[in-house]
C-alpha cells in the first residue's frame, strides 16, 4: 500500500515538475521572441519595424529585404546561438565541477582561444572559419584543462576562479604583447576580443550551427550521468557511471560550445556564468529544472535572452553608427560584473579566513642576508635599467650626468630614462606595500589591489580624465586615479566587511568589480578614440612611457607616508594579520586599524597606477615571496616586499623597453607574464 502511495505521489510530483518546467520554458521563449523582434528592427540602415514586416511577409523592396536577410536576421540568430551555447556550457561546467563559478570565462577558455587565434594571425595563416574555430577550440581546451587540473574538481570554488583568472590574465598579456608587436597582422583582433554579435551574412551562423548542435545534443546525452555525479563520486561510481569519463566528456563538449561561440562573435563575457545562476533560484520553485536534461537547455535559453537583451539595450541607448563601434561583449561583461558582486553577497561563505600557512621562521641573520642581497641585486638592475635602452651608456656617462656635465646626447637620454626607471621602482614598491597591507587586513594571501578591482578603478578614473580633459597635470591624474580607486575600494571592502571579510566573498567581489572596470576602460577608449588600439593597451597594460619626474612625485610622497605608517604600526599589522580574536583581547580597535591600513593601501595603489598604469600581480607576488623568505613579522616583511616589488617592476620595465626597441612593451604585460605562473604555483602549493 505504502509503496503504491509513494509512486502516486511521485507521479504527481513529476507531473507538477514538468508543468513548472514547461511554464518556465514557454516564458523564456516568449521573452526571446519579443527581444528578437525588437533586435531585427535596430541597425544603421533605415529599415524599421514596418520595413521588416514587409520584408518578412515578402513584399518589400529588394534593398530592405536584403538588409533583413543578410544583416539583421544573422545578427539576431547569432545572438541566440551564442547565448544558448554559452548558457549551456556554463551550466554543464558548473554541474560537473560542482562549482557555481565555473564558466567559459573563469576557466580561461576564452583567453586560450584568443591566444590561439592571435598566434594564427601573427603567423599569417589565414584559415577558413571552421579551421580557426578548431584552433580556438584547442586553445580553449588546453586552458580549461590546466585550470581544472590545478583547482581540483569540486574543491574550493574560489580556487577555480583564481586559477582561471590568473591564467586568463597571463594568456591575455601574451596575446596583447602579440597585438603590440604585430599591429598590422593582428588588425581587428583587439576589437574581436571585445566580442560583438554583428554578422556578415548567414555564412558564419550556418557553419557554426552544426557545431553548436553537436555540443548541445552531446550534453543532453550525458545529462543523466552528470546528474549522477551530483550525488558524489562514490555514489555515482556505485550506479555504474564512469566519473572521470563523464567529467572529461562534459568539459570537452562545453569547451566545444564556448569555442563555437567565440569563433562566431568573439568572447561575450560572463553569459556562461550568469545564465545558470539565474536558473538556480527558479529550481527551488520548479523542481523539474533540477535535472540537467531540463536545466541545461533552460540555462541556454536564459543565456540567449541575456545576449539579446544586451544587444537590444546597446542599440537602443547608443546611436546606430556608434553602436557599430561598441562591442556587445563589453555590455555583457559590465552586467556580469555587477551580477557577480550580487552573487558574492548572496553565497554562504563557509571558508572563513584560513589559518596562516605554516612557514619556517628564519633567523635574524637570514633576514639581513636577504635584504643585503636583494638590495645589491636591485642596485644592479637599476644600473642596468639606466644604462640599457636604445642607446647603450656606460657608468662614466651617468657620473657626468649626475654632476651636470654630461654631453648633449647623454643628458637627453638620461633625462628621459631616469624618470622611467624611477616610476617603475616607486610603482613597484607602492604596489608591493599596498598588497602587503591588504593581505594583512583581509588575512587573505590572494588579495591584491589588481584582483580586488582597486587598480581597475584607478585606471578607469585616470582614463576618464585623460580622455575628457586637455593635458591634465600629474597631480590631477593621480587625483582622478585615487577617486576611481576609492569608489571601487569602498564598494569591494564595504560589501566584504559585512560578515568580517570572508575570504571567498572578498575575492569574488573584487573579481566582478575588476572585470567590469576593465570592460568600462575599453568602452571609454572605444567611444572616445575608436582608432587608437595602442592607447587602450597602454592604459590597460601599464607602461612608464613618457613619464617625467613631476609624474612620479605623487607616488613618491604616498610611498614615503605608507612606509612610515607600516613601520610605526608594524605591531598592529602583525596582530590584525593573526586572527579575529587576539587583537580584540589586547584591546586593539580592530575596525579603525583596518580602515587606516586599507585607506593607505588604496592610496598606494592609486598613485602607482597614475605613475605606471595598471600593473598586475606585483601586489600579490611581492608580499608572498617576502613572507616565504623572511617569515611573517611585518617589520621584516615590509622592507623585503618593497625591494621585491621594485625589482620586479624595474625588470619588467627594462625588458619592455629593450626587447623590441625602439618599439615598447608595457611593464604590466611583463609582470603578468612573470606573475601569472607564480600565482598558479602558489595555488598548487596551497592545494592541501
Amino acid at each position: 500500500m505504502a509503496v503504491i502511495d509513494k509512486t502516486a505521489v511521485g507521479r504527481d510530483r513529476t507531473a507538477a515538475a514538468t508543468t513548472g518546467a514547461v511554464a518556465v520554458t514557454a516564458t523564456l521563449v516568449l521573452l526571446i521572441a519579443a527581444l528578437a523582434a525588437v533586435d531585427i528592427t535596430q541597425g544603421t540602415a533605415d529599415v524599421g519595424a514596418s520595413q521588416v514586416w514587409n520584408a518578412l511577409t515578402g513584399n518589400a523592396e529588394a534593398g530592405d529585404a536584403s538588409v533583413v536577410i543578410a544583416s539583421r536576421l544573422p545578427r539576431m540568430v547569432a545572438a541566440v546561438l551564442v547565448g544558448v551555447a554559452l548558457g549551456m556550457a556554463g551550466a554543464a561546467l558548473q554541474a560537473v565541477s560542482r562549482n557555481v563559478l565555473a564558466a567559459p570565462d573563469t576557466l580561461a577558455v576564452n583567453a586560450g582561444s584568443y591566444l590561439a587565434l592571435g598566434v594564427l594571425a601573427v603567423t599569417g595563416t589565414s584559415l577558413p572559419l571552421l579551421a580557426s574555430s578548431g584552433a580556438a577550440f584547442v586553445g580553449g581546451l588546453a586552458a580549461a584543462a590546466v585550470v581544472l587540473g590545478l583547482s581540483g574538481l569540486g574543491k574550493g570554488t574560489v580556487r577555480l576562479v583564481l586559477a582561471g583568472t590568473a591564467l586568463a590574465l597571463g594568456l591575455n598579456a601574451v596575446t596583447d604583447a602579440l597585438l603590440l608587436l604585430f599591429p598590422q597582422q593582428t588588425e581587428g583582433l583587439y576589437r574581436w576580443n571585445q566580442g560583438s554579435v554583428g554578422q556578415n551574412g548567414f555564412d558564419g551562423v550556418v557553419q557554426m550551427a552544426p557545431v553548436v548542435a553537436v555540443g548541445l545534443v552531446g550534453l543532453l546525452l550525458v545529462a543523466r550521468r552528470v546528474d549522477a555525479l551530483a550525488l558524489g563520486d562514490d555514489a555515482a561510481q556505485g550506479l555504474g557511471v564512469s566519473v572521470r569519463g563523464t567529467r572529461v566528456t562534459t568539459v570537452v563538449l562545453a569547451t566545444l560550445l564556448s569555442a563555437a561561440a567565440v569563433t562566431l562573435a568573439g568572447p561575450i563575457g560572463f553569459v556562461g556564468l550568469c545564465a545558470p545562476a539565474l536558473v538556480r533560484p527558479l529550481t527551488r520553485r520548479f523542481r523539474g529544472l533540477v535535472r540537467s536534461r531540463v536545466g541545461m537547455p533552460v540555462a541556454g535559453l536564459v543565456g540567449a535572452a541575456l545576449v539579446l537583451l544586451s544587444d537590444v539595450a546597446l542599440r537602443a541607448i547608443v546611436p546606430a553608427d556608434t553602436a557599430v563601434e561598441v562591442p556587445t561583449g563589453v555590455v555583457t561583461t559590465v552586467v556580469g560584473g555587477v551580477f557577480l558582486v550580487v552573487m558574492a553577497l548572496r553565497t554562504r561563505d563557509t571558508a572563513s579566513a584560513d589559518a596562516p600557512d605554516r612557514l619556517r621562521i628564519p633567523g635574524r641573520r637570514a633576514f639581513v642576508v636577504t635584504v643585503v642581497a636583494l638590495a645589491a641585486v636591485l642596485v644592479g638592475v637599476l644600473l642596468a635599467a639606466v644604462l640599457l635602452g636604445d642607446s647603450k651608456l656606460l657608468l662614466g656617462d651617468v657620473v657626468n650626468w649626475a654632476q651636470g656635465r654630461a654631453g648633449r646626447v647623454v643628458t637627453f637620454v638620461l633625462d628621459t630614462r631616469v624618470p622611467r626607471v624611477t616610476a617603475a621602482l616607486l610603482a613597484g614598491g607602492a604596489l608591493a606595500l599596498s598588497g602587503t597591507l591588504v593581505q594583512a587586513v583581509t588575512r587573505n594571501p590572494l588579495a591584491e589591489p589588481g584582483i580586488l578591482g582597486v587598480s581597475g578603478g584607478a585606471g578607469l578614473g585616470a582614463v576618464l580624465l585623460v580622455t575628457t580633459a586637455q593635458a591634465p597635470g600629474s597631480w590631477e591624474i593621480a587625483g582622478a586615479a585615487f577617486g576611481g580607486a576609492a569608489v571601487t575600494a569602498t564598494l569591494v571592502f564595504g560589501l566584504a566587511a559585512r560578515g568580517g571579510f570572508r575570504q571567498n566573498r572578498l575575492v569574488l567581489l573584487g573579481f566582478g568589480v575588476s572585470s567590469a572596470a576593465a570592460a568600462l576602460i575599453s568602452l571609454v577608449i572605444v567611444l572616445s578614440d575608436p582608432f587608437d588600439t595602442t592607447k587602450a593597451l597602454t592604459w590597460l597594460s601599464g607602461s612608464t612611457y613618457g613619464r617625467t619626474m613631476p609624474d612620479v612625485v605623487p607616488v613618491a610622497v604616498v610611498l614615503a607616508v605608507g612606509v612610515v605608517v607600516a613601520v610605526t604600526r608594524r605591531r598592529e599589522l602583525d596582530l590584525v594579520a593573526l586572527d579575529e580574536d587576539t587583537p580584540r583581547l589586547l584591546g586593539l580597535g580592530l575596525p579603525r586599524a583596518r580602515l587606516g591600513f586599507l585607506v593607505t593601501s588604496v592610496l598606494l595603489a592609486a598613485t602607482a597606477v597614475s605613475a605606471a598604469g595598471t600593473i598586475a600581480f606585483v601586489g600579490l607576488v611581492a608580499p608572498h615571496a617576502a613572507r616565504a623568505l623572511v617569515g611573517r613579522r611585518h617589520v621584516r616583511v615590509v622592507p623585503v616586499a618593497l625591494l621585491l616589488g621594485g625589482l620586479l617592476v624595474c625588470l619588467a620595465d627594462l625588458a619592455g623597453r629593450t626587447v623590441i626597441a625602439p618599439a615598447q612593451l608595457g611593464a604590466g604585460l611583463m609582470t603578468a607574464v612573470i606573475g601569472a605562473p607564480y600565482f598558479v604555483y602558489l595555488l598548487v602549493r596551497t592545494r592541501r
Binding site: V377, V410, Q664
Partner: protein, 326 residues
C-alpha cells in the same frame, strides 16, 4: 642553497657593474662649444608655441607619416622616422630618402632613440601626447603641426608644408610642391568634367573584418579625401558625421544602404586582404546596393596614404581619375 644563489647574484651584479665603467661620449667640458651663429629662424607652430632655430634644420626627426612625407617631398632626408616599415608599405608617393633610423611606433616614439640622434628639429603632430612633446622639447626644438583638421583639411595640410619649409629653408621647394598640387587638382577636375562626372556623388571608404563582422570606415566630407573630392567637383555622399579631426566615421554594411547611386571608392592592401571583394562579395546587402549593381565600385591602388601630404594627394587624384574615367 638560497644563500648560494643570493651570493652568486651579488657577485654577478658587482662584476657587471665593473664592466659598465667608462663613457660613451666625452663630458661637456671636453666638447668645446663651437656653434656658428647662422641666420636665426623663428616660427609659431600649430599649437601657438614659438620655436626658434639657429638656422635651417638639416637633422630632422619626424613622428608621424604625413610630416615625414612633407619632409621627403621638400627634399629633406629625415634622420629618424616612426615605423619605417609601415611608412614604406603605406606611403609610396614619397619614398624615404637616405637611411633614416626607426624611432619606434607613431604613438610611442622612443625618446631614447630620438635623443641619441641629436636632431636639430623634431617634427611632431598634435596627436602625440603632450607629456611626450614636453620631453622632446628638451632634446631639440619641436614643431607641433596639426594632425588633421575637420574644418579645413587642405588648409592645414599646406600650412604644415609651409612651416616645415620655413624650418628647413626649403621655401622655394614648398612653392613648387603647392603649385604641383594645385595643377593636379585642376587637371583632375577637368578630366572628370570631360568624362561627364562633374558633380557626381562619391563615397570613399576602407573596411576590415573581424569575427564575421565587417566594419566600414567612412571618409566623410570633412576628411582629407573628402575635401580633395570636393575640390575635384565631386559631392560627398556620406550622411554619417565624421570625427572632429580626421573626419572618419564607422558604419557597417547596412549603413551603405543610405548612399544611393554613387561612385564608391575604397582603399585596401593585399596584406590584410580586400574586404570588399572578399567577405562582402557574397553579402546580399552589398549585392543589392545600386552602385555595386552598376559596377561603380573602384579599388584604389595600394600605397596611397589617405592622411598624407600633397604628394600622396596627387597620387590619390591620379588614381581616382583613372578609376572613374576608365
Amino acid at each position: 642553497m638560497r644563500r648560494h644563489l643570493l651570493a652568486t647574484a651579488t657577485v654577478a651584479v658587482a662584476a657587471l657593474s665593473l664592466a659598465a665603467c667608462g663613457t660613451t661620449e666625452p663630458s661637456s667640458d671636453d666638447a668645446a662649444a663651437s656653434k656658428k651663429p647662422a641666420g636665426k629662424i623663428t616660427l609659431t607652430d600649430a599649437k601657438g608655441t614659438k620655436v626658434t632655430l639657429d638656422g635651417p634644420a638639416t637633422k630632422v626627426v619626424a613622428t608621424e607619416w604625413n610630416v615625414v612625407e612633407d619632409l621627403v617631398a621638400l627634399g629633406v632626408a629625415p634622420v629618424g622616422v616612426a615605423d619605417v616599415k609601415g611608412y614604406t608599405a603605406w606611403n609610396t608617393a614619397a619614398p624615404l630618402t637616405g637611411d633614416p633610423k626607426d624611432i619606434g611606433t607613431r604613438g610611442e616614439p622612443s625618446i631614447d632613440t630620438v635623443a641619441a640622434l641629436a636632431p636639430d628639429l623634431v617634427v611632431a603632430t598634435t596627436d602625440l601626447a603632450p607629456a611626450v612633446v614636453k620631453q622632446l622639447r628638451k632634446v631639440a626644438p619641436v614643431l607641433e603641426l596639426t594632425a588633421a583638421d575637420g574644418a579645413d583639411q587642405i588648409g592645414s595640410m599646406t600650412e604644415s608644408v609651409d612651416l616645415i619649409a620655413k624650418a628647413t629653408g626649403k621655401e622655394t621647394e614648398a612653392e613648387a610642391l603647392k603649385k604641383d598640387f594645385e595643377a593636379s587638382l585642376a587637371d583632375g577636375k577637368k578630366a572628370l568634367e570631360d568624362a561627364g562626372l562633374g558633380g557626381a556623388e562619391i563615397a570613399s571608404a576602407d573596411g576590415y573584418e573581424a569575427s564575421n563582422q565587417v566594419s566600414i570606415r567612412a571618409y566623410t566630407g570633412t576628411s582629407l579625401l573628402g575635401a580633395v573630392n570636393e575640390k575635384l567637383g565631386l559631392k560627398n555622399a556620406w550622411k554619417v558625421k565624421g570625427d572632429a579631426s580626421y573626419g572618419l566615421a564607422t558604419t557597417d554594411v547596412e549603413g551603405l544602404t543610405g548612399l544611393g547611386d554613387v561612385q564608391f571608392t575604397y582603399v585596401a592592401n593585399d596584406a590584410d586582404g580586400d574586404t570588399f571583394t572578399g567577405p562582402l562579395a557574397k553579402n546580399a546587402v552589398w549585392k543589392s546596393l545600386p552602385f555595386v549593381k552598376d559596377g561603380n565600385v573602384h579599388r584604389l591602388p595600394d600605397g596611397v596614404w589617405m592622411f598624407g601630404g600633397p604628394r600622396s594627394m596627387e597620387a590619390y587624384i591620379d588614381s581616382l581619375v583613372d578609376a572613374l574615367t576608365k
